[in-house]
Amino acid sequence: MRRTLLEGLLHRPLSEPPPAVDAAELEAVARAVGVAARARLGRSLSIREIDAGSCNGCELEIIALGNAFYDLERFGLRFVASPRHADVLLVTGPVTRNMRAALLRTWEATPDPKWVVAVGACAHDGGEFAGSYACERSVGAVLPVDLFIPGCPPAPVDLLKGLLGLLTLSAPR
């Protein structure tokens, strides 16, 4: 135990420099989120993740954001347990019809101002599950989506870029 802790103190951190968010990406985020967001949030965002019927692949990569390589919390981004504490809803999956009501109720429980980030191909347009009797087809079909992060699943770096864009934008000038 002591050896493991001591090593943790002596070694350089594993965390990698944040990925660069390029101007085009930032502009896309800016367009999506709008000016209203900036003043409200400061440099921190509380995120509530909602699996709306994903295959779990997107969740695995979102969980990976917390590991030492990405260390999400150093940017002021953190996952919260309740929608009532959240600024951002991070939604994955093609929104199964069986999850629609729960997704809507979670959104309703989130105080304004709030932003919806759709994560992964499924959340965007149903992905491989488009056209199924059991799916709504996309997050956008159920909630107003502010930002979409593509990928199947998006790698943690892509998730980080999208979220950092949101954060950069929301910082007071």
Partner: protein, 503 residues
């Protein structure tokens, strides 16, 4: 008379079903099969429907023979196996929902996957349009003066899949846990119907994201069995390499996550780093962190080069160096041991009755690993231990995983050392309707895939049974009598799939 299942009197063997036989049986034989299952002489491997028949896959003895039995039911009724053999209940509830069947005598006939939110009833059967038909779902009662209910989900507090847990508790102690699943049902089997093999393989790889390699492999094996196709040796070895990397990533992640649920974060932090290293090596070697869409019927859609092999070699060295110290920490931290030892005990008799696969079964004395039996290449050329324990508690499940991490590292080294040269993909073609089945060992346990390939090379019907079907029900029993606060720990130590189960 089929010698393989002498218990059945009337059965007609179906041609073109591989590698195990399929028999069309009558109602009397179907009931006999139910009796064999109830008596514990057979184990249920799966039960699924088709428009006008119901199938079940059974294992005779511990590792004696496998067969698929089919009962035609044009009138859409059949005697419920679940009437005498509980492991069939949820499968039959699902078959009722999807096909509009009536499983007669089913002790619990509540809908399972159909929450009343679909625009159709019996989507894989007659698919009749319905208006919004959400009906209240009555949970099973528990009676007693001081009992209270706790409802959890479908949206959970952590970053995990959705499902509902209904606890009845007496103070801190769980009196009854009831699961309600189906929230992530995506209609995958309906989408597979009529799809070409490439698309069906992509769907199979998205049944459960953490088992994408194993599910795609089960599907590919079933298709190859149907078509009588042998993928090139290099592809077979690369598939095993991907499968062991997937097992390694999941075991590392979950060992950490179990410790985290016992509020011991440091092991989780270190395990998460090791898991990330596995995914990065996978990305270098196979071009995708989770290795999605890499296993396809006929072979693999990626080849390993020297850079990829070096990344995996470096990974194995890193895990071998770092992981043993975490194991030592796990084993010597009294506060952690206090939480995991004796918690969430699964009775070996239940594990056997439900045919629990993977670490859930092997931590409760069920010595079954599909890599070993029925077995599939290249594992017959490789050396590996299959750990088995009998305590059945959270600690035993963690230990099985710890030992399997060691076994997977050994397998990865052998696979890299012996990797054959040559092609990685065989041409896939079909000329006549054919059926195939396969059993593949994912990190959670054995995945059953069954497929009928049409003459034009599309999928006529495919069913993939995730190991979770036989693990979720016994979690309810394992939690009994534990305190509510230990539920996350018990649940994580099972780590059943929601999407894999709901399909």
């Amino acid at each position: 008379m089929p010698t393989i299942l002498p218990e059945l009197r009337a059965a007609t063997r179906v041609e073109a079903h591989h590698p195990w036989p399929r028999f069309v049986v009558d109602v009397a034989s179907w009931r006999v099969a139910g009796g064999e299952l109830a008596a514990g002489r057979w184990t249920l491997l799966g039960l699924w429907g088709e428009a006008d028949s119901v199938h079940m896959a059974v294992l005779r003895g511990d590792r004696d023979a496998i067969a698929v039995l089919t009962l035609p039911c044009a009138d859409r009724r059949f005697p419920a196996i679940g009437a005498r053999h509980a492991p069939a209940i949820r499968l039959e509830r699902a078959a009722q929902d999807l096909f509009g069947f009536a499983a007669e005598g089913l002790p619990d006939a509540r809908p399972w996957l159909d929450h009343g939110a679909w625009p159709v009833r019996a989507p894989l059967g007659r698919a009749e349009p319905v208006a919004d038909a959400a009906v209240p779902y009555p949970f099973l009662p528990a009676e007693g003066g001081a009992l209270h209910q706790i409802a959890v989900g479908p949206v959970h507090a952590g970053i995990i899949e959705p499902g509902h847990f209904r606890f009845h508790a007496d103070g801190e102690t769980v009196v009854r846990l009831e699961e309600r699943l189906g929230y992530t049902h995506k209609g995958t089997e309906a989408l597979m119907q009529g799809a070409d093999l490439a698309r069906a393989a992509r769907l199979a790889g998205r049944i459960s994201g953490d088992s994408t390699v194993a599910s795609a492999l089960a599907f590919a094996h079933a298709v190859e069995a149907a078509l009588g196709l042998a993928p090139p040796p290099r592809a077979v070895w690369l598939r095993a390499l991907a499968a062991e990397l997937e097992r390694l990533a999941n075991h590392l992640g979950d060992v950490g996550a179990v410790c985290n649920d016992a509020s011991f974060a440091i092991i989780n932090a270190h395990c998460a780093v090791l898991r990330e290293r596995v995914l990065r090596a996978a990305a270098v070697a196979f071009g995708h962190r989770l290795m999605m869409d890499r296993v396809v019927p006929g072979g693999v859609a990626a080849n390993l080069d020297a850079t990829g092999a070096a990344a995996i070699t470096a990974l194995v060295a890193a895990v071998r160096q770092r992981f043993p110290r975490l194991v030592e920490l796990y084993d010597s931290t009294a506060s952690l041991q206090d939480r995991v030892v004796g918690t969430g005990r699964l009775d070996p008799a239940l594990a056997r009755q439900f045919g629990c696969g993977g670490f859930v079964g092997r931590a409760s004395g069920r010595d079954f690993d599909a890599r070993r039996w029925p077995g599939y290449p290249p594992y017959d050329d490789l050396r590996f231990d299959v750990p088995v324990r009998t305590e059945g508690d959270v600690n035993a499940r963690v230990w099985i995983r710890i030992e399997e991490i060691g076994a997977s590292l050994g397998l990865i080294e052998q696979l890299l050392a012996g990797l054959p040269a040559g092609d990685v993909r065989a041409k896939v073609g079909s000329s006549a309707e054919a059926e195939g089945a396969a059993l593949v060992e994912g990190f959670r346990g054995d995945i059953l895939a069954w497929v009928r390939v049409a003459a034009d090379g599309t999928v006529a019907r495919c069913h993939v049974r995730d190991p979770s079907w036989f693990q979720w029900p016994v979690l309810e029993a394992a939690v009994d009598g534990n305190i509510v606060a230990d539920f996350p720990l018990c649940n994580k130590s099972f780590n059943c799939a929601y999407s894999g189960h709901d399909l």
